[in-house]
């Protein structure tokens, strides 16, 4: 698999179809890190194994990365990353013809202690979408996709308001406001996040429990109908807050409320930019 990836990258860099190639490599300690290759000679730095968890589409909107080289960019995407890419394209952040998509068949990523990530069990796109990617590397994998009952979300929904507040209070007490969850997310591409504005100031920047509550509510709301549950935010959080549970709550709400799943169609926009005359009204006073 690694050989094919390197060869594909080399060809692209060589014939100039891409000026920059985003892939996975190793650092000194043997950890997998994102690598940015400019020359066909560097393709040796590319690796592929079950720890290539990063969602590289994040860097397609990072001005500091894109401006490294003029011209089209090649990027390796797994099935889950591809969904984020579709949302980015639908929100005009990435021009389809300015990127070359190298889909890699994934057999489920593993975390630090070698267990398959919970998101991969229920993932329906181990095989990247041929019609969407430029090249797909690896044999298609036939597997039975586990039914996603959103048990983590239901667990929280079973609590009464006071218990919920206590639960999230515990987590948000830990939150450092380091914004790793925001900065790792491919859909948080705003030039200046609403949290950093102070005229008017929407959420105070200091990391008290209450302020953190409102930070996470805003983030969850801004991802409603857009988040594809790639899970990077939860992985990046140093203090282990179950951020995926929050995002999946909204994914479930959007699914139930508007029968919409993000990341399926690069043309479809978030349901909050659409409406139906007969939308639900059971919550209206």
């Amino acid at each position: 698999m690694i050989g094919k990836i390197r060869e594909a990258a080399k060809r692209m860099l060589d014939d100039g179809t891409v000026r920059l190639f985003l892939g996975y490599g190793k650092n000194g300690l043997g950890d997998t890190v994102p690598v940015f290759l400019k020359h066909k000679e560097d393709v040796e730095a590319l690796y592929w194994d079950e720890t290539c968890r990063y969602n590289l589409t994040r860097y397609l909107t990072d001005r500091d990365v894109i401006c490294l080289e003029e011209g089209p960019v090649g990027v390796i995407v797994k099935g889950c990353d591809q969904k984020s890419l579709k949302v980015l394209i639908s929100e005009k952040q990435v021009e389809r013809d300015e990127i070359r998509i190298v889909g890699v068949v994934c057999s489920g990523m593993k975390d630090d202690n070698e267990e398959i990530l919970s998101k991969c069990g229920t993932c329906d796109s181990w095989n990247p979408d041929e019609t969407f990617c430029d090249i797909v590397i690896g044999q298609t994998v036939e597997r039975k996709i586990e039914e996603d009952e959103y048990s983590d979300v239901e667990e929280v929904e079973a609590l009464d308001p006071a218990q919920r507040e206590k639960l999230w209070g515990k987590y948000f007490d830990r939150c450092l406001r380091c914004y790793a969850c925001r900065n790792v997310c491919p859909l948080c591409y705003c030039k200046e996040c609403i949290l950093e504005q102070n005229d008017p100031e929407w959420v105070p920047p200091s990391a008290s429990k209450e302020n953190n509550f409102y930070f996470h509510i805003i983030r969850a709301y801004h991802l409603t109908g857009r988040c594809t549950d790639c899970g990077e935010c939860e992985r990046a959080c140093p203090v282990g807050i179950p951020l995926r549970t929050i995002n999946r709550k909204m994914i479930k709400a959007v699914k139930d409320g508007f029968d919409f799943v993000a990341g399926k169609d690069p043309e479809a926009r978030s349901p909050l930019t659409r409406f139906r005359r007969d939308d639900r009204e059971d919550f209206i006073t």
């Binding site: 030039k191 200046e192 008017p200 978030s270």
Partner: protein
């Protein structure tokens, strides 16, 4: 052709006609006898059915007229004579001297304070005394004083002269002479109105003898906060608050005393109901009772207003015409004898009696009108034909308002607009040079200077001050940071208050103004105009509602209401600090007009607009024109309908300016005032038309009833079907001897709790037509209230004289119809007079079924974004003063789409809608509001979310940035709430302004 129109009379009719004409760019001269315009409506406290304070909804219109550059107003003036010339008329106007220079007088009131001579105050119906030099009332327009020449010591005997000494503006001029002016005009509109009956016409009511018997208009002054008693109801005899107030209806109306057959004055039932409700509101221990013959609540939401009066306010309604009043000498109370429903006589003592006096024609007017060949009817009214409302038979002379017959305010406003459209004929055309562009005043740049907020807290008479402790709110406002000036005013909306605010702005160098008063929806424009006159950008105004949403609704907790008012003021200042100057944007006007519906109203509106030279696109679903009118043979007043319809349809078909679309549906209407694009569907052919205004005339349909076996029995017909039977001499008539007409079928109950206005008159018309040909047939009419209002009452009298028997029934005890066999019924109805059930054998049932809205109203309403009423008819902008407008600019309504109405009323409304549309089409440019979205390019990521939610397609994305088309943007702000990064904001309601507004609550 001379482009000036003379409007005689400054009541609400004359004012509305003047406004519409000015709106079309036509010069207007308005002549009013009294020292102020506003007429009787200015004397009213409140108006039904919404209980709006009359002055509050009237003064914006008076101010708009007074400040319009195209209108000259002559007050204390009368028209001596009018002579016809080839290109119009020459009017001789006598302007009586005011002895006060209108240009200089600032209405400061010093002269009145010092004037030693006391004179009965005519505005307050001589209840209180006023001074020899006075202003009619606080919010009078024009706000100029006047010396009463009959009582002035200086004028009569050369003594005193105090007023000249104290007048700071040097406005007093004793030498001022009456002037005569010759004025040549293109057309004349007579809007001189009518006067009230003096109750002396019925001496048995003791008016003028018993102190506590007052007329309805005097009582209005008692109720009015600016009246003699500042809104407290007191008995004239001992100035104590009365416990029980009686209202006696039909004083002078429906009475031979007012003319051969007597007529009804149309509005007294509802005015009494409103006054009774306001009286009950003054406190739990004050009750009102109304004695009436029929309650004529025929207008929109009138029946619901009466029901609310009964159920929520506890007003008692007693059906009994009062024969006389006796005063018990010691207590000065008044004993009123009435008949109870079961026929017993009862006496009840009242502390105060209000006589609901009707209207009659003033005597002097006849001479002037006859002079130009205008004929008056038996009652002295100047009637015009049903199919030509406002017409006087003399070309160029038109009439409107109560001079054509007693009517309520909405009908007056409609007839005024109609007269304006007639008078405009030939004076307007699409290529008229545009209206003078409002010179953009040089506004000082307030961005640099420190924020100086002025706070004005309005007492609104007692409306606010009776609940909210206004002085403490003013004092509190002064303590808010950046507030450099705060003050209270009795009526912030009055012209003198506006001038006062303007002075304070200049004096204190204010660059933000907060007005705590009533709803910005009704008064924002008024105060904004004040700021403009003070040289301040009018968008530096922030209003906050401490009346409709505070004092009126927190009456029982005055302390919390006061605290709320304070916080509302602080919130308003919070937002005001961040207000920035804004400027309106201009867009061009397409000169065509779209008329939806080819019925009578649609055709008349289309003809009127087209006759004035503008292209009309007339859309009709059916394959023929005429709508409901085709099913009517003649009108109550006798005019033949068929020939009239034929004439109108012919004119429409041949009119060069009318583009007719039959069998056509509307697929969609896009755009906004001055710039609509409508997609039409004829079969499968789609065409689109561009136009600047829309007139909705979709009409209505007869109600289909299930009652009394109508659907199955040929001998049970509706009123309209009976008319066709009469016309076609149906053989059934040979067999039928006795006919029963049952009124209010399915009306005024349950969901359809409204009166369809026309069924009573239809029954009367059918009786008269029937009896002309078959005098021997017997007719029984079973009714709940006979609502043949206005000049239709004589026809009701004539119907009784044919021998038709009118039996009243209660909703709780409806007539029981038993079908013996085909064409033979027995009706049991309880006759209150005989106190027994009377059994009537009849062969034919004629049902008065009323009128329902069309089911398609919903679809049209959605396309035009206009609301429907609870009953499904189109809901106009204001029931009283904007009866043909929608709140959406550029869209108007007329005919039965607005609600059930008579044929002549439909036509009047059609001409009115045409006039209103012309006020738009005659302009080259439309000023659209200043609020618009704008994008901060540094923050915008070009994601396009804002463009997705914009209903007006006002946002495009180019070069990865969103761009707003300010002309299309309507300022709704939906995009600002969709944007993640706060890159797009809405001027006038920016994120910062809204946050700073609610943040004040938590400091």
């Amino acid at each position: 052709m001379n482009k000036r129109v003379l409007v005689i009379g400054g009541g609400i009719g004359g004012v509305q006609a003047g406004l519409d004409l000015a709106g079309m760019g036509i010069k207007v001269t308005l002549v009013e006898e009294k020292p102020n315009i506003g007429g009787r409506m200015a004397q009213l406290d409140k108006t039904f059915p919404t209980n709006d304070c009359s002055t509050c909804i009237l003064s914006p219109k008076l101010l708009e007229l007074a400040s319009s550059p195209d209108v000259d107003i002559y007050t204390c003036a009368s028209v001596e004579g009018i002579v016809k010339t080839e290109d119009g008329f020459v009017a001789r106007i006598k302007k009586r001297a005011r002895f006060v220079d209108e240009k200089k007088c600032t209405a400061c009131g010093l002269c009145a304070q010092k004037c030693p001579v006391k004179v009965p105050d005519p505005f307050n119906k001589n209840i209180t005394m006023s001074k020899c030099i006075r202003i009619p009332y606080a919010q009078a327009v024009p706000a100029v004083y006047m010396i009463d020449r009959e009582h002035c010591l200086r004028l009569l005997e050369g003594k005193c002269g105090v007023c000249e000494k104290v007048c700071p503006a040097g406005a007093i001029d004793y030498e001022q002479q009456d002037e005569i002016k010759e004025l040549s005009v293109g057309a004349v509109i007579v809007a001189t109105g009518a006067e009230e009956f003096t109750p002396r016409i019925r001496p048995e009511y003791g008016y003028g003898i018993y102190e506590n018997v007052v007329t309805s208009i005097e009582y209005e002054r008692f109720l009015s906060a600016s009246g003699p008693t500042n809104g407290h109801i007191v008995r004239p005899s001992d100035q104590k608050e009365p416990k029980r107030v009686a209202f006696i209806q039909c004083v002078g109306s429906r009475d031979v005393a007012s003319g051969e057959l007597g007529y009804c004055s149309s509005f007294c039932c509802m005015q009494a109901t409103k006054d009774a409700v306001v009286t009950c509101e003054h406190g739990p221990n004050i009750r009102s009772t109304i004695f009436y013959i029929d309650i004529r609540a025929y207008g929109k939401d009138f029946d619901r207003f009466v029901d609310r009066a009964k159920t929520e306010h506890g007003v008692e309604y007693k059906r009994s015409r009062i024969s006389g009043i006796i005063e018990s000498p010691d207590t000065k109370n008044l004993v009123v004898r009435y008949i109870t429903p079961d026929g017993a006589l009862k006496d009840e003592e009242f502390d105060l009696v209000v006589l609901s006096v009707g209207l009659r024609m003033p005597d002097g007017l006849g001479g002037l009108l006859e002079g130009i060949g205008v004929k008056l009817d038996a009652y002295g009214f100047c009637r015009s034909g049903a199919f030509s409302p406002g017409d006087t038979g003399v070309d160029g002379v038109y009439v409107c308002g109560t001079v054509t017959g007693p009517m309520d305010i909405p009908e007056t406003v409609v007839s005024a607009s109609a007269a304006a459209s007639l008078a405009a004929r030939g004076l307007v055309s699409p290529d008229r040079e545009p209206l003078g562009k409002a010179a953009d005043r040089k506004e000082p740049d307030t961005s640099g200077s420190p924020i100086a907020v002025g706070v004005v807290v309005c007492r609104c008479g007692t409306n606010i001050a009776s609940v909210v402790d206004v002085p403490s709110v003013v004092e509190y406002a002064a303590s808010i940071p950046n507030v450099t000036f705060s003050e209270e005013l009795l009526y912030a909306c009055s012209q003198d208050s506006i001038r006062h605010i303007i002075n304070k702005i200049r004096e204190h160098g204010l660059n933000r103004v907060v007005v705590a008063s009533c709803s910005p929806r009704t008064h924002e424009a008024l105060f904004q105009k004040g700021l403009e006159q003070a040289g301040l950008n009018k968008y530096l105004l922030q209003m906050t509602n401490i009346r409709d949403q505070c004092s009126w609704v927190h009456r029982d907790t005055p302390d919390r209401a006061t605290e709320k008012a304070k916080e509302l003021v602080r919130m308003a200042v919070g937002k005001a600090r961040h207000l920035t100057p804004l400027h309106e944007r201009y867009s061009d006007v397409k000169k065509d007009c779209l008329v939806i519906g080819g019925g009578l109203a649609g055709m008349m509106a289309a003809l009127d607009v087209a006759d004035n030279g503008f292209v009309v696109h007339l859309i009709e679903q059916e394959s023929f024109l005429g709508g409901n009118l085709l099913k009517i043979k003649s009108l109550l007043t006798g005019e033949d309908v068929a020939s009239a319809v034929e004439r109108i349809v012919k004119r429409v078909l041949e009119h060069p300016k009318i583009e007719l679309f039959l069998n056509t549906d509307i697929a969609g209407i896009e755009g906004y005032v001055g710039n609509f694009t409508t997609k039409l569907l004829t079969g499968d052919r789609e065409t689109s038309v561009e136009h600047g205004a829309v007139i909705v005339a979709t009409g209505a349909r007869e109600h289909v009833t299930e009652s009394y076996g109508y659907r199955t029995d040929p001998y049970v017909v509706t009123g309209r079907e009976f008319e066709t039977i009469l016309e076609k001499k149906n053989p059934l008539l040979k067999y039928v001897k006795r006919i029963a007409m049952i009124q209010c079928v399915d009306s005024r109950e349950g969901e359809r709790n409204y009166c369809s206005r026309v069924c009573c008159s239809q029954a009367v018309k059918n009786i008269l037509r029937l009896k002309e040909r078959y005098p021997e047939k017997t007719v029984y009419v079973l009714y709940r209230d006979m609502r043949t209002y206005g000049l239709r009452e004589p026809y009701y009298t004539a119907a009784r004289e044919t021998g038709a028997l009118f039996l009243r029934y209660d909703a709780s005890r409806k007539p029981v119809v038993e079908k013996i066999e085909q064409g033979s019924f027995i009706i049991d109805v309880f006759d209150k007079i005989l106190q027994e059930t009377v059994r009537l054998p009849v062969q034919l049932l004629v049902l008065g079924v009323g009128i329902d809205p069309l089911d398609t109203n919903d679809r049209v309403a959605k396309m035009l974004k206009v609301p429907l009423t609870q009953d499904g008819f189109f809901s106009e902008a204001h029931v009283k003063l904007r009866p043909v407008d929608f709140s959406t600019e550029g869209v108007f309504v007329c005919g039965m789409a607005h609600g059930p109405k008579h044929t002549d009323e439909s036509i009047a409304q059609a001409l009115a809608a045409a006039a209103r549309a012309l006020t738009i089409l005659t302009r080259d440019r439309i000023r659209s509001q200043a609020y618009s979205a704008s994008v901060d390019e540094a923050l915008c990521t070009g994601c396009g979310t804002c463009a997705e939610v914009c209903a007006y397609g006002a946002i495009e994305i180019d070069k990865e940035k969103a761009r707003v088309n300010e002309l299309l943007c309507k300022g709704c702000g939906t995009c600002t709430a969709a944007c993640f990064s706060g890159a797009i904001d809405l001027s006038g309601f920016t994120n910062k302004q809204i946050v700073k507004e609610f943040e004040e609550l938590f400091i």
